[in-house]
Subunit: 202 residues, 2 copies
């Protein structure tokens, strides 16, 4: 990273600080998050800093963390929705008007940056494209591999409702009444079996 590159501000911070934030939250400097930083930065700028914006992310891989690190939206506060659609795209939109911007990895533009194109299309083995080289290309490219578009969100903007709560006759835990006469786990759909381990709390 040269001095000129490290000087630019993205999401209100230096690239170096962004990379540190990514590593602290995500555990490692995932290339998708480096690209995601520029995507969030652009979407945020287009929507306007004075607008309270919600987020929709079109992939579960990596990109949701760019939203969580660089905006107030998180999975748990419900301001970020994640669609498991496998597209490298995100939208930020005004939660009142539902108007906003979608930003995505534009493959045609990415062809000018073969490292990015080959990485995303799985055309080069990971060991042949060192992480530093790839993220370096991304930092050089900035928004040049992205496109954006003004949108109006038409679904998935609702706040999830909790509905009526019942106490499950099987396990005694609270669960949404809409699931039926018992909770999903007591209906046999659970994700675990109980173990006998010494020293287990009760």
């Amino acid at each position: 990273m040269n001095i000129r590159t490290s000087d630019i501000l993205v999401c209100g911070k230096s690239i170096k600080e962004c990379l540190a934030d990514i590593e602290a939250f995500h555990g490692f400097t995932a290339p998708g998050l480096v690209l995601g930083t520029f995507m969030v930065d652009w979407a945020r700028e287009l929507v306007g800093s004075d607008v309270e914006a919600d987020a929709i992310v079109e992939t579960r891989h990596c990109l949701p963390d760019a939203i969580q690190i660089f905006t107030p939206c998180s999975f748990g506060n419900g301001w970020m929705k994640v669609l498991d659609w496998g597209k490298f795209a995100l939208s930020l939109y005004d939660k009142k008007t539902l108007e906003g911007y979608r930003v995505w990895l534009d493959l045609e533009k990415a062809r000018q940056f073969p490292n990015i194109y080959n990485w995303y299309m799985h055309l080069v083995p990971k060991k042949e494209l060192p992480l530093e080289v790839l993220t370096g290309t991304m930092i050089e490219a900035k928004r040049e591999v992205l496109s954006s578009c003004a949108i109006r969100v038409t679904q998935f903007y609702e706040s999830p409702k909790k509905g009526k709560i019942e106490i499950c006759s099987g396990c005694g835990e609270a669960y949404p009444a809409v699931q039926g006469s018992q909770c999903l786990t007591c209906q046999g759909k659970g994700y675990y079996e109980k173990c006998q381990v010494s020293g287990v709390g009760s």
Copy 2:
């Protein structure tokens, strides 16, 4: 918060630092996250600090952020899975052996702390139970409203695979080939309509 309470360590920090972390990431001191802090703390202790642990959270509301704030697991790195099952429970488990611990809000125990019981079961209007009072009760109760159990995870532990990528003939973006001949958005399932706005990037 009295001095004795603020002195205890939860998730390796003082309660005060935990509350600050919650507000910084989640946007506000959600009661579910205060409870969640004690849940993560207990699960983490049971699993053992030397174990590399993945997480499963059984509700999309609030609790996923407790995992994201106080463990290395995030939605985007795939180490946390979220089930929209509406139960106030989470599990941490060894990603190699799949053995771990589930911790949940135990309603029977919570009856000893009416503020917590009434809040969770929606038995008292929010304005009659000020946030400070509710979170104060949670900090006093600590693990006394929780139960835990040793488990072996039997599903949802897989890392999501990305599969074969195609370029969509509709929009020219990359998408998972498994979705069909075009991406979901071009199949008419998208969440937005495009707008004409001056100054939109392309």
